[in-house]
Subunit: 412 residues, 2 copies
DNA sequence: CTAAATTTGTTAATAACCTTTACAAAGTAA
DNA sequence: TTACTTTGTAAAGGTTATTAACAAATTTAG
């Protein structure tokens, strides 16, 4: 008997559900709450937990005993006395299990293993050979990588509780299916979660890699503390991770943030099609920026001058920092377009912060000029910050999601 | 001792909070849950509630007695027997209290009163005289209107539990301050909630009127059942209500959805300033559309033809439906710009539905042509629907928010 | 150096809540 | 009229959390 939401005359329900509530749920809820407090207040005593939770001392005692029996809490021995009996310090047992994060890139596979505090214990990476890019082969590589990493920290693979995989394409997180990944040949409607769960035997989350980077920056990067922000990844491709009200926003077809096709101020747009490249991506994707550089060079007839003709976007930006006039024009060009895009999104979403990431986007000079352009506006000018995690953002985001998923299941 | 969210090494917390959980909370939670079930399953018996909730019969009995003592439940007498003792039917007592909704327009004040089922009992409206547009005067009008409506349904004003006020401007919902309302003279940083709560003595929510319309359409309009959608209000002004994951999205500065300043494909933009009108609003606001009509007319030298020169936007659209070629061009013009705006927002947010509302926007012809333009795209083509509540959307949204706020406080 | 005060933590008694079991009430079906 | 079904209440029992009392271990005061 499902609750009908659309026909009901009752207003939109708040996020709180009301499940059948029995006394035993109390115990679980309290244990969960105490565990969370313990994780947030590193080493602390039962007395601290009593103060933090507002629960009575006997309740805390009994819950701690329960958590200890589950091996989720460690005793650290006596702490400093503050004028009385010294407290027995407790700590969340971060080694109770581990979680893994994976980034499937266009050319390589990267993995990390972290403990339940999110501390990254070890990493592993490998370049793809051509035939290793099939979904099946990637799963096998993941299994091998996981084994290696477990050996590194001398733990059993059985202690790994969850894995989050970032894929470079539109991803249905609910079903765990990668709907399309243009950079990977033949990755259409790949049921990656089912494959991972079968091959590796782990609960898995499949996410878009840019979304993972956004989560990473929110967890321990430039976006820490922001409730609403947009992560813009500028590299070969252009995409965004939309983070609202403390969570990723995916949209109705899992394609929120696919801003590569965004129109550019001053140009008209055509119909959108999968086969074409988007205007924004053409303009300020890595290739677009390098193209602009070459255009300006040839216009100035400097194409003869040394090996400057074929520079990567970041190298051009570096030149601009060194004072090269032409390179500065390229930065201005990119920043202008980027700022236009940011304004449009800000008018709609009014985010607190914009994080620029990706190989091209995280360059501080681009960030500086973009922000300078935005301050001319009287509104729709969010803070602009460069990614602080760089290429590690995705992997950190993967760990963050795995931790959240694990946390919910540590106490059934 | 506040929990620090940014320095913590724990992943972003799920929306579930873990408050100190005492046994008495169980009772409250169960009562709340049962009341919700009762509201969703209109008249039903205790036995039905037992089945729906999964709780035991004595618990349901006791909770029902409790709710009845609070006058939140009505007994309807015996129902149909299904082969045994006939059940005693129960119903949520929608007359236990009332909630009010207000729409502050540019020229008039409208109010509605609804019972706790959201059934609208009566309405009231008044045109502003010039001096009645001050915040203080509006509050007085609201008090008078509320009294009138209470008399209409012969109830005491004391039974009104909550009021939600829609203002035509940027609104800080947390503090209840109207930050700016261009259509109302001298409405800058008006602490409207404090004023309402003092003048009328009711808990109040202050919201942007377009946001309220979005909530209304979600509650009992074209957007019913949609998790993510955008309500676009096209009238004299142009604005949007952003509705994501079942809730309004406000943004960091309460200005999410201020899309009037959005750039238009093919034109370049200048710096944004409060004093100027936005490109989008200039183009497809009511005045923009009427201007386009006149432009085309004069170009065709038909300006002499009757009184056609000065038509309202909706009248032009009506002409297009009747087959007028020039009017059809105006519709095409507006739809083209609107579709461009929708595409941009869809690339970012991927909403399920776009609702077109407001005096100009809800015209079915505009809706039809806009949708036609969108289907040329291979993606970023949400469903486009006309508002089904029309001018009543805001007021319905106000009632919806008041109900939600009340529901949370019916059981302390 | 001893006693009081303080802080930490446990044990025992009490109250609140939900559930199972038993049973009463009021109908339908044979 | 009897058996069966459904609805609803009452009593007993089991968890859970709280308060109160107390034990343990240390600092502070005299």
């Amino acid at each position: 008997m499902r609750l009908s939401s659309s026909t009901s005359s009752v207003p939109p329900e708040p996020p709180v559900e009301a499940p059948p509530t029995r006394p035993s749920h109390l115990r679980q809820a309290n244990a969960r709450g105490l565990l969370r407090l313990l994780r947030e207040h590193s080493p602390c005593s039962k007395a601290d937990l009593v103060r933090l939770s507002g629960l009575s001392a006997p309740t805390v005692s009994s819950a701690v005993a329960y958590l200890e029996s589950l091996n989720l809490i460690e005793k650290l021995g006596e702490g400093e006395s503050s004028g009385g009996r010294p407290p027995e310090m407790l700590r969340f047992n971060a080694g109770h299990g581990y979680v893994a994060g994976v980034d499937i890139g266009g050319t390589r596979l990267r993995m990390v293993l972290a403990d339940l505090n999110g501390r990254i214990m070890t990493q592993w990476a490998t370049q793809f050979t051509d035939r290793q890019r099939t979904p099946k082969a990637v799963c096998t590589l993941m299994r091998d990588g996981l084994r290696k990493m477990c050996q590194d920290v001398s733990t059993s693979t059985k202690k790994v509780l969850h894995i989050t995989v970032g894929a470079p394409g539109v991803t249905n997180v609910d079903s765990g299916i990668v709907l399309s990944a243009p950079n990977l040949r033949d990755w259409n409607s790949v049921p990656l979660r089912a494959m991972v769960e079968q091959e590796i035997g782990l609960a898995a989350i499949i996410e878009n890699d840019t979304n993972l980077a956004a989560v990473g920056e929110h967890w321990r990067g430039s976006a820490a503390g922001a409730k609403d922000f947009i992560f813009i990844a500028l590299g070969t491709g252009v995409g965004a991770g939309i983070f609202l009200r403390g969570q990723l926003h995916h949209g109705a077809n899992w394609s929120a943030g696919e801003i590569g096709y965004t129109a550019i101020s001053g140009r008209s747009r055509q119909a959108l099609s999968f086969s074409s490249t988007g205007q924004l991506e053409q303009s300020i994707g890595g290739l677009g920026i390098e193209g602009e550089w070459q255009k300006l060079l040839s216009r100035e007839r400097r194409s003869s001058s040394g090996g400057l003709a074929r520079l990567r976007a970041t190298e051009i930006f570096d030149l601009a920092v060194d004072g090269d006039r032409l390179a500065a024009q390229v930065v201005e060009y990119a920043a202008q377009i980027l700022a236009g895009c940011i304004v449009e999104m800000s008018l709609t979403l009014d985010p607190e912060v914009i994080i620029l990431g990706g190989g091209v986007g995280s360059h501080p000079e681009l960030c500086r000029i973009t922000e300078k352009l935005l301050v001319r506006n009287e509104f729709a000018k969010p803070q602009v910050r460069a990614s602080s995690l760089g290429t590690q953002a995705q992997l950190n985001g993967a760990i963050s999601l795995s931790l959240a998923a694990t946390e919910a299941r540590l106490l059934t």
